[in-house]
């Protein structure tokens, strides 16, 4: 169970805790060391993106690869702009976001209490460990048809698959976080007569919350990718979503630009979801010592 990314043990500034050390973290550039102006980090990033796009465009225009196979960057960007105002695509985006949100919420609601139980009761943890370890690697993609036949198509199937895939990171990170709780604090409260449950809510969960938050972010990116993959494989008949849109867009030749444009939006959606979670994390966990605004 020593699987997912751990936060650094020492207190660190927000750039470290939420930076590239955790998957999908927001870009955290190094702060300028001394006096004087050095390029702000975001400018560098923007430069990088612009240079990449120009290079891609030049590569495309050199006709090294057939344009039907790999369209020009400008074509893809134009298509992407068109998608932004397409009612159908926006509907699909809404459907994907809806399934993602619902699935993630259910996964968290199930995994955190389960993690608390498993983390606090070593007997239960040992007993269920083998089963949990066995079930975890099953790719949700393999379960699509089975779940579809049993539950029927649409939101139920999508959400079930998302929940199945998203539970594991949250569960494991919750257990991780609980492992790291300062035993002294726990013992002190127990000595004062606080019940088990109150100790958990007062000490364990708050202490473990950065880990849990990281787990949620990991689960979030898994959830979006899974939703889009499921939609692509099952098609429009099983409900809307970006995946169903890509499956439809992928008919015949010459629609690669549409597929890439949808991919562009899918990637941006993933980044946006992650950014939202990071923002929420910072707000909720402001008080936590790992999140002190001044660098240690």
């Amino acid at each position: 169970m020593r699987d997912w990314v751990r936060l650094p043990a020492r207190p660190a500034g927000p750039g470290r805790a939420a930076g590239a050390s955790t998957p999908g973290g927001v870009a955290g550039p190094a702060r300028p060391a001394g006096p004087g102006w050095s390029m702000p980090g975001w400018v560098r990033g923007v430069c990088g993106v612009v240079v990449f796009l120009l290079a891609a465009e030049a590569f495309g225009r050199a006709d090294v690869i057939n344009r039907a196979v790999l369209p020009l960057a400008s074509t893809v960007l134009a298509r992407a702009a068109g998608l932004a105002v397409s009612g159908q695509f926006l509907g699909d985006v809404a459907a994907t976001i809806g399934a993602w949100a619902l699935g993630l919420a259910i996964a968290v609601a199930v995994a955190v209490p389960a993690g608390v139980v498993l983390g606090s009761l070593p007997g239960v943890r040992a007993a269920t460990r083998a089963m949990v370890e066995f079930l975890r690697p099953i790719p949700s993609v393999a379960l699509i048809v089975l779940v579809g036949l049993i539950l029927g198509p649409g939101l139920r199937m999508n959400v079930t698959l998302i929940v199945y895939a998203a539970i594991w990171p949250v569960l494991f990170n919750t257990i991780y976080g609980l492992d790291d709780v300062d035993p002294v604090a726990r013992e002190t409260l127990r000595a004062f007569g606080f019940g088990r449950l109150r100790v958990i809510t007062l000490v364990d969960l708050p202490s473990a919350s950065p880990f849990i938050a990281t787990g949620i972010r990991l689960a979030s990116s898994i959830a979006i990718i899974l939703n889009i993959s499921t939609g692509y494989l099952t098609g429009r008949i099983s409900g809307n979503g970006i995946g169903a849109f890509i499956a439809e867009a992928n008919t015949g030749a010459g629609n690669t630009s549409l597929v890439l444009a949808a991919a562009l939006w899918a990637g941006l959606l993933g980044l946006a979801a992650n950014a939202v979670l990071v923002w929420g994390e910072r707000r909720v966990l402001r008080w936590h010592h790992s999140y002190s605004p001044e660098p240690a």
């Binding site: 509907g91 459907a95 036949l149 649409g154 429009r236 008949i237 099983s238 409900g239 809307n240 992928n250």
Partner: protein
């Protein structure tokens, strides 16, 4: 019949709407009305999944000519890329009937006891020129013998395409094991062939004419000749539970479809006119499409041929008697 054409089908987005659709399931409230024979129908609004291929033309003709209305039915169609993709919907009530699902998939499910179905109406029977394997002239493949060791694109594996291809290859002395099948959706087959990603493609109309016209593909082997000529390919399916629950509705559907099948068989020009309304075929290209046969009634002996072929091809472990599956 087995394509994966994606045609936009806009279903209301939004969480609440999706939940409602998923939770409520089924079509509109069942209201009774009478069919042409005077019996009360249990359900009048049907959702039929339809594939965007020539086999479904009678369904759309039935809607256009009012045959369903005459029976007291209102039919809404939903275009699906592969009949098997709609099976979860059928099992859970969001789709009542699957149109021109291929017999093989449904019989397999029946034999495996994964679901229980009834065939309400015949769909299409293959013709020599509308179902076969194509290749590019430059591939050098001449005839079935040339397919040994090659890669053939099919829309679904373990299905009628591989079954008929294997049967006919064996008849030509080519071991079916030497051929590699790869799954490619119908709309992508022509591009895959041209790019050289596959050596040959197994197609039905309209994709056959499409490949022939777009890149000069030439036929290698018809998959509807010899022992598998005039093989029933597809039918209209509902679950056994559904047919038991709505017997009069099922019968009304059967009557309307029988009329439509007969009409389509006798009026190819009407079929050509209706094709552009539900497929990507243009009105200009429609006259060149080779049509299938549309049998008006279910012929148990003919449908049994499919089950026997499946048994011979290893897709069924025990013989399947199709007669109980045909609705009457």
């Amino acid at each position: 019949m087995f394509p994966r054409r994606r045609t936009a089908c806009i279903v209301a987005a939004g969480l609440a709407t999706l939940w409602a659709t998923a939770a409520c399931g089924g079509s509109a409230q069942p209201s009774t009305s009478t069919s042409s024979t005077g019996t009360r129908l249990e359900k009048t609004h049907l959702t039929v999944g339809a594939l965007p291929i020539v086999d479904d033309a009678p369904l759309f003709l039935a809607i256009k000519n009012g045959y369903f209305r005459q029976q007291g039915l209102t039919v809404t169609t939903q275009i699906i890329p592969q009949s098997t993709l709609a099976i979860p919907d059928m099992l859970h009530g969001t789709v009542d009937i699957i149109g021109t699902g291929n017999y093989v998939s449904f019989f397999e499910g029946q034999a495996q006891k994964t679901f229980s179905i009834r065939v309400l109406s015949a769909g299409a029977t293959c013709t020599q020129n509308s179902f076969g394997i194509l290749t590019l002239p430059k591939s050098g493949i001449k005839g079935p013998a040339g397919l040994a060791g090659k890669t053939i694109a099919v829309n679904l594996t373990n299905n009628i395409q591989t079954l008929t291809a294997d049967t006919l290859l064996k008849a030509s002395g080519v071991g079916p094991a030497s051929v590699k099948y790869v799954v490619v959706p119908f709309p992508d087959m022509a591009a895959a062939l041209q790019a050289g990603r596959v050596n040959a493609i197994s197609v039905v109309e309209p994709f056959m004419t499409g490949a022939e016209q777009a890149m000069g593909a030439v036929p290698v082997m018809s998959q509807c000749s010899g022992s598998v000529s005039r093989l029933p390919l597809s039918g209209y399916f509902a679950t056994a539970a559904w047919a038991a629950k709505y017997p009069h509705t099922a019968h009304a559907f059967q009557v309307a479809m029988a009329k439509a099948q007969a009409f389509a068989d006798a009026n190819p020009s009407a079929v050509q006119k209706v094709l552009p309304t539900y497929t990507k075929i243009t009105a200009a290209a429609a006259p060149h499409i080779k049509l299938s046969y549309y049998p008006p009634a279910l012929n148990p002996a003919q449908v049994q041929r499919v089950a026997d072929l499946m048994l011979a091809g290893g897709l069924l472990k025990t013989p399947l008697d199709v007669r109980p599956l045909l609705f009457h």
